[in-house]
Every structure is written in structure tokens, then in C-alpha cells.
Amino acid sequence: MTTTGKRTTAKTSTTKPASTKPTAAIDNDTAQALGTALDHSNAMIEFDLKGAVLRANANFLALMDYSEAELIGQHHSLFVDPKEARSAEYKQLWASLAKGVFLQGEFRYLAKGGREVWLEASYNPLLNSGGKPHKVILLASNITEAKNARANIDSTIAAIERSMAVIEFAPDGTIQRANPIFLQVMGYAEEEIVGQHHRLFVTKDEATSLTYKQFWTSLARGESQRGQFQRITKSGEPVWLEASYNPIFDASGQLVRVVKFAYDITAQFNQAVALMGEKSAELEAALEESQEAERVRLELDRTLQEMSTPVTPIWDEILLLPLVGIVDSTRTDDVMRKTLDRISQTSSKMFILDISGVPTVDTAVANQLIKITKATRIMGCETLVSGVSSSIAHTIVELGVDISELRTTATLKDAFSTCLAEMGVLDLQRGRIPSRSQQPTLHRQRTYR
């Protein structure tokens, strides 16, 4: 139905005036009752044969916003577009009504103020006893809302058809129709695909897969499906569709067809893939870079550690670690680890920890030194702490650190000679190198049986 203002008579049927005389079969009472019923349910208005209003019922007046007084005597053209009122067709309408022709259809009327009202109406010419028409009764019901709703749906569907690929299937997947956009995306002509099965658009592998079978059985059960689907065009190219498959039911709830709405997202998809590739390459480069940085940092760390804790063998089975700079717990941990490892590697029996390069020693560091001593002893290696300055000695005493576990000497030289003596290399008393058999017993002078 168009909205151009032309009166539309979609289902106009005409009946010869003489042949309709239903009143003959109905008695007066029935006619009365019928009239009342129609008056209640329909909008009614009576015109003379020229189109002048004779009377209108309450329904009609309410519908058109007029009072009866305003209407009586007015011409029917009050209800139609002035343009239409001047048209030949309009004149034709009244001419045929005057001849007693029955008309029915959907008509566009204008209410008071120009408001549009759609009427499902019939023009009923009434015949007088001589069989001549003498007036026309219009019986109408208001269908404006339904009309507008319909127009709304129609334009929505038109919009979808204009912008999306649409294809319709029978519930079993047989193609019924497709719109031009779909045909263009897939590269087919409509007659090539109508009657074919949907599997025309998927790969052979997919068509035979269980998933594909389930896809159609769930659609046949009335479950809609949506997602991104890969489909194959006529030329065998893959396309990506963002699509929804919608089961359509008739009024009784029976599945009649499946409509698929789709967008071609191949371009976006490819772009995304490319972008992802690009991104991942970037990421990889960044990762590599950071790994390299980490490696360099570790290397540097290791070198620094190596430099800060140079545990060196200075004699057979004697290790020396000259500690320089600030000593904190991280550093002492490192010293411990390094020292124990070196003892294990070299089977050293003496370890000299020279702290002459350490400016201050606090309780924590002193305790760490004691722990190192203890750990090396457990491994079977004696620790001597050398290079204890007088100020450090003072501090240690003032802090009240229990140094009974620590063996300390003032200078590195003292420590070294003690070591050599204990190893039996040097006899301190006699200033000569003793023979192996005269080796003094080790630390704390344990005597065995």
C-alpha cells in the first residue's frame, strides 16, 4: 500500500446492483438487530448519491474527530486529499456508486486536521423499493495501526535487504531465495542456487562433518545460530560471514523456513589476521629485545658478583676472599654461597675472609660472618677473619656480639701464617717447614685416642 495520497482499492470487488437484495430474506426485526450490531462495531456514515453526508454514527465521528453537525451536508471529498478529490478516479468512484456498484477495500481518509486514517471499508449503495440506488452507506473499521505496523515491518525488511546478505532455506537446508547482496558475495546467480542445498557453500570436509549435520538439526529444532562462518564462493574463494541463521515459524508454531542474515567480513577478517601477524612480529621483537636485555643484565650481575666476591685459592687448599666496600645481607648471602661452592670444588681446608676493605661492621654483618664460619666448618673448612681494624674490633665488642665462634686476626699476613701452620706447611715456632708426620692437629686441638 502506498502513501502517495491516492486512494487504494486493493481488493475492490463489484456486485451488480439488481442481484443483491438480501433484505428480502430477512425480516424487519432481524434487520433492525443487524443494523444495531453494525452500528456498535463499525464506523458508519451515509451519503446521498452525490456524496453529501446524510448522517454518521458515533464510531465514525470519534474516529474522524468531527461532530455530526459539522459533517451533515458536507461532501465526501472532505475526507480525501484535495488532489485526489479532483482526480478522474474519484469522480469515477461516485459515478459507479450512484449506479449501485458495491465497493470494498482499504482506503486512506483524512480526519479533522488532516490526520491520516486507514479504513477497511465497504461502500454499500442502498436500493429503494424500485431497485434504484438512493443512498450509500459506508461501513468501515480502523486499520491505521495495523497498516502502520505493516509499513514499519515492510520498511525494516527492505532496509535489511538493502544492507545485508539474505538467503532463505527450507528447514532441510534447501535454498529458496537469496537477495542480490548475497548473490554478489557468493558469486552465484539466483537460479543457480535455488533448489540446491546449503552445503554448496561449505567445504567438502565441513559438509560431511558431524558438526555440520548437527548445525542443521539444531536449526530444524528451531534453535537460531549465529557466529562467524567461513563459506566458499562459486569461484572457490573462502569468504567470512558474520551471520545469523534464524528459524521462522508460521502462526501455528510450525517451522517453515530458515532465514540467514549475513555480513561479509572477509576484509576485516583478513585485516585482523594481518594485524595479528604484525602485532605478533612486533611482540616477538620486543620479547627478544627484553630477553637480550635480561641476558646482558644477568651477565653484568654475574660479573659484578664475581668481582665483588673473588674467592681465590692462594695456596693448596687455602681460599682467600678479600671483601671490599659496604657489606649487606645480600652480599653476605652471596659470599656464603660462593665460598661454599669453592670449598666443595677445591676441597679447601682453610678459608681466609679479609675484611680490611670493609669500613663498618654492624651486628647483622657480624652474625653473618659467624654463620659463614659455621657453614664452612660443617663442610670441613676453617674460616679465619683477617684484617679486623681496631675500630671494627671496638664495635664488635661494644655490640656484644658473641665472637667465640669467630677466629680473627689483625692482618692478612697473620691469618696466612696461621693457615700454613695449621696445614703443617710451616712450623711457626721453629720457622721451618715440618715434615708431614709432624703435622699439628687441626683447629680446637681435638685429640683422638
Partner: protein
Amino acid sequence: MASSAIDIRTSMAAVDGLLVVSLPGELSDAVLNRIVADVTQRVTEDGIRGVILNLSTVTLLDLAEFQVLRHLVQTNEVLGVPTVLMGIRPGIAAYLCQMPITIDDLIFRVDMASALEACDG
């Protein structure tokens, strides 16, 4: 624990009056108790003059296990046999030094040569 009993016997050797006991890499309470029992028995039976406990293959030693070993050392001491703990690994040493234990009454040696020396000293 028949199999571990065999292990222990094979890892115990008396050389020149010194009993060298090699402890297995992984100690269980059962194994450790078996070792303690076996060592104590060998010490009393054979007139051993020194015991060397070789811990160089032991990778894990907790405080309780260490206390068992210390108990063994003290038992030997009572029996008049000095015991040397030999080859304790850096990791175990680093752990034990953090523990509130005294080690003054124990003899540790870094390798077998010095352990033998300590026994002969």
C-alpha cells in the same frame, strides 16, 4: 627393608681399623635408623678406632636427620670411637648454619684424605 639393609652393608667398609660409611643420596628415617644401628654394632663388634661418615652424596638433610647423626657421633664418642662427618655439601652446610645447633663437638672434613688424616692425628 631388606633391600636397604643390603645397600647399607655394601656401603660400609672397614679399612685399617677405620669404618667408612657412605650414606645413600636420599635418606629416609628407616634407612637412617638402620645405618645408626648397623654402625653402632660394627663399632662395638670389630674394635674400630674411627668412623668416617661420608655425606658427599647426600643432597637433602633436615634438622631431625642431622640430630640423628649427631646422636650417632655422641654414641660412638661414648664407645671411645671418634667420628668424622665428611663431604657435607654446600647447600646442606648453608642450611645447617642457620639452625640453632652447636657444632663445636663435631669434627667435619672436606674430603676423604683429610678425614683419614683427622682420624690418624
